[in-house]
């Protein structure tokens, strides 16, 4: 009798435990497969997470909009509408507290800080996880590339966006994915 209740309780717990990663997978898959792609100009740096491993933090050029509204509070939930500039890179066209009602793509995110009429937001895809040996090399490779490149092509992140959800698909440096760029640099230095 008692075991029966325990089993029921456990089944509910187990379903919840499985539901969280499955929901994460489903949302990300849907966004990745059916979302619109945006390219965000970025600068990478490399930190570590105790559970999820090494990643490079991306510092985006497009993360601020000018606004007269001064009432923004840190960590406040906001929606950033996206657009593209003349070169095809992503820009933030508007930040609001309500979901955009028109068809424009947007990402759900948080307010970073407000300073001198510029509202800075924390874009919700600033972590790009990499294999542990490559994350640090990626950072140094980018720094060197940034200094030495003759024909500079900006590094950018490819982000799929759908219904406010955003999935960071890849980071491109000198026209190729970050991972391949790191491998290429390794080949060169041999």
């Amino acid at each position: 009798m008692k075991t029966k209740y325990l089993i029921i309780a456990f089944v509910i717990t187990a379903l919840l435990q499985a539901a969280v990663p499955l929901k994460m997978i489903y949302d990300s898959e849907m966004t990745e497969k059916h979302g619109t792609e945006y390219r965000f100009r970025t600068t990478p740096i490399d930190p570590t997470d105790p559970f999820r491993g090494k990643y490079i933090t991306l510092d985006f050029e497009a993360e601020a909009v000018t606004t007269q509204d001064t009432t923004w509070v840190r960590n406040e939930k906001v929606y950033a509408s996206l657009g593209k500039d003349s070169l095809g890179f992503a820009t933030i066209t508007n930040v609001s507290r309500e979901k955009p009602s028109d068809k424009t793509d947007y990402v759900a995110t948080k307010v970073g800080y407000y300073y001198g009429r510029d509202l800075h937001i924390d874009l919700p895809f600033e972590r790009f996880y990499m294999e542990e040996s490559k994350a640090y090399e990626a950072e140094t490779a980018y720094r060197e590339y940034n200094l030495a490149a003759v024909k500079f092509m900006p590094a950018y992140a490819i982000v799929a966006v759908k219904d406010g959800n955003a999935v960071l698909k890849n980071v491109i440096i000198d026209g190729i994915p970050m991972k391949e760029y790191v491998l290429k640099q390794r080949e060169k230095s041999k």
Binding site: Q17, Y55, M130
Partner: protein, 428 residues
Amino acid sequence: MGSIQKELSELVANNVITVTTAKDIENYYALKKEPQGNALLTIFGSLGAILVGLGIILIFAHNWDTFSQTTKTLLALLPLFVFQGLTAYCIVKEKSSLWKDASGILLFFAIGSSMALVAQIYNIPGDVSSFLFSWIILGMPLVYILRSNTLAFLQIIFATYYAVEAGYFNPERPWPYLFFIAALLPFYVKQIKTTPESNGVSIFNWLLPLSGIISLGAFLKGGNEWSLSILIYIAFACLLYNIGMLPYFRDRKTRRNGYLCLGLVTIVTLLLTTSFRWFWEEIVYRESPAPVLVGWGVLIALGLGIAYYTKRGKYGINPFQAVTFIFPVIFFVGMADTFIPVILINVLILALGVGCIKQGINKVDFKVLNFGMVMISTLIICRFFDTSGSFVIKGLLFVAVGVGFFATNYILIKKKKNNPVNSATHEN
């Protein structure tokens, strides 16, 4: 076991106890010893499971970028499903607590590793504290379903980790920590009631106050300076000490009473900190945020309530419990003057130390005696640094304390020799 048999045969030989009594005693210890091996196995089983769980997380954290996304996703879910299956099997087959502990721990870490790997695959952001939050919530029911002490300990440790991450390294106050601890309390109370003498309860008795001491600081911010934090920390330490003085804890061995020990050490450390004049000179009294003041009020009220409750019992109130209301009075005196509180605090520490020494000698208890001696010598060492007295006087004071250490311990050894029965009755 061997030593007991030796003692018993000696007692029988000298006609102190009868042969039947000796047999009864032997049987009693034989029965009592039985679960020992099992307990050891549980400890190593749990430790093994914790290491395996952490190992899985580390292996995943490597980020195997040669695998395809689909393979990685399946790998992420695999440990979760495997250990859920194992745990379900243990519940259905009503396996021993050893099995339940081990499978529960593996499942607990699998929850974390699956979320971590999925986040890694899809570059899902979020700081460590929000990650820990989901993890603790999803693991909490397992404590009750599997009735596992080890899982409860892991939950306390992770809740503390959460409070530190969310509170010290982020601007928020880690309120969910209180919820996590509250969610574990029914389990703890049940363990106290069913197995009061178990090692599990002892570990709880240490882990909970320690977690509280570490996490409290994470709540103390927002425009207030650290002098107010000391006021609140002393209130909290007094509350811990008062809990340790509850008859249930007091009647048990000191090493089982983490509330008393941690409370005592925290109280004395903080009192010594406030015995310096600069502490009172640097206090800036600003308006404090309401939640902090309310929290302080609650701590003081609880501490005093328990002190009053224990006073009604057979013990009466002791000087360390009295710090609960003495310190706030001194603190408020300190708002007007910087000299009086320094004197009062020094007198207070001296009185507490002398009280300990007196009690230690009366009850022939070396622990209490030497705790008092350590308090007084630390007080003198502190004054050595901030008082501009003559070196001769300071030197004589040190000699006096050193001689005091020898003398009091010598008196106690002599007293113990003269009256061996009396000395066996104390633990505290």
